[in-house]
Symmetry: C2
């Protein structure tokens, strides 16, 4: 499925308007032409092969096919990067039954470089086939990845100042995979508008990758994060590799 | 020269330690093994062909070869991205005599994608051979690129909140090229520590690309930015495509 998305996206002409808002998605936000193209590529595989899953997607919502398991997809995470020409956006796929915590397999692929993060519950996390693990943090050398934008809560700036370096890369799933890979120490999102926080489709896959690499994701009151398979629930959170990061942030 | 840098970097094995600090550069900051490798690739071309330029580089400082013109180079902008595996870092090359404003030709290349920005004074700016121009800003849809980090002045967060979207991508030269290309509206850097602000090597090339694309770079007191060819001078600044952005920021 990821390959189909990548092929479809790579084949677009330079002049294609990736950002054209063509509809309102099931989650209430506008669907861009690129999101739709990517979602269609995935749905086609599921339908053609009659795969035994329901589907939960940002744009199409829940497609109940009467199955036990649900494929949770974010066809494009980082749509604005794709529009801007920043080579940092992904497709996310996760397979589970009811919530983030029961996801069995997960895949996140950088659609430009092709780098593929994969995890299987209890079996570890992998980048392009090689095992990955979080790093332990050096307090003097912390790299934070963060959501920074119109809806950032003011604490965001204070917390940013506790790290040596920070980035706001605009693609939560890949940012969490960088933490899983031990390239960065944390990803933090704190929106002061509930409707702008993260949904399960955005992070169902990257959460398993991070947890299987030895990291954890907690809500901002410190509880291990779980989110049901629906588009209503939103959450702010901290994703980290090393427990020590909790004290730095909270 | 850019091709030589890209080839050298692409050929590195996955296990190569790009971030190893191997020396102190002429600018007083540590030189990583990757910076050194890239600088050597450029110096080799200049020396082998005995090109008629002096060289000003982040790591080697000013190499006075008794010539009229100086090649101002930033072998790698975005070293931390290269270390983290974020595909957004560049090589910058600018040729001029005394300061940023007399740069005649400039080139910035994304070392992962190979995308190449080029400008010649009075002749326009180009991406992969096609003319680029800044965009006019839509006040409701502003995209800011910013420096966000340990040394960000507090105003940074307030200014960020005036845009619909923001990113901190960690590579000033490519971020300015995104403004030149009309993909983003501004790049803003405001460090409260002088020694952490930008040097001429970082932006000599991207400044010409942006100006030739119709944009401007101003210091934070609103004057058109110029910087002499040396490593001592530092500056904060706002780079924008559309004049309207000045009122949004200042």
């Amino acid at each position: 499925m990821a390959r189909k998305v990548r092929e479809a996206e790579r084949a677009l002409p330079y002049t294609y308007d990736r950002g054209k808002e063509i509809a309102l998605g099931a989650d209430g936000t506008p669907t861009s032409s690129l999101d739709k193209l990517a979602e269609d590529a995935i749905l086609e595989v599921v339908m053609e092969r009659d795969l035994p899953f329901n589907i939960l997607s940002e744009e199409a919502g829940m497609i109940n096919r009467g199955k036990d398991r649900t494929l949770v997809i974010d066809p494009i995470d980082g749509t604005q990067n794709a529009i801007m020409g920043v080579p940092f956006y992904s497709v996310s796929l996760a397979l589970g039954t009811k919530s983030m915590k029961d996801v069995e397999v997960a895949l996140v692929q950088n659609l430009v470089t092709g780098d593929t993060y994969y995890a299987e519950k209890g079996m570890g996390a992998y980048l392009n086939g090689a095992r990955i693990r979080v790093r332990s943090c050096s307090p003097q050398d912390i790299m934070f990845l963060m959501y920074m934008g119109l809806y950032s809560a003011p604490e965001t700036f204070q917390i940013m100042k506790r790290a040596r370096r920070s980035r706001a890369l605009g693609c939560a799933s890949l940012e969490m995979c960088l933490v899983a890979e031990g390239r960065a120490d944390a990803y933090y999102i704190n929106c002061d508008v509930y409707e702008k926080a993260i949904r399960v489709v955005d992070i169902a896959a990257s959460a398993l990758v991070l947890r299987e690499a030895g990291g954890e994701i907690v809500s901002l009151d410190g509880r291990s994060l779980d989110m049901g398979f629906n588009l209503k629930e939103r959450s702010n959170y901290l994703a980290y590799g090393d427990e020590k990061i909790r004290k730095v942030v909270m």
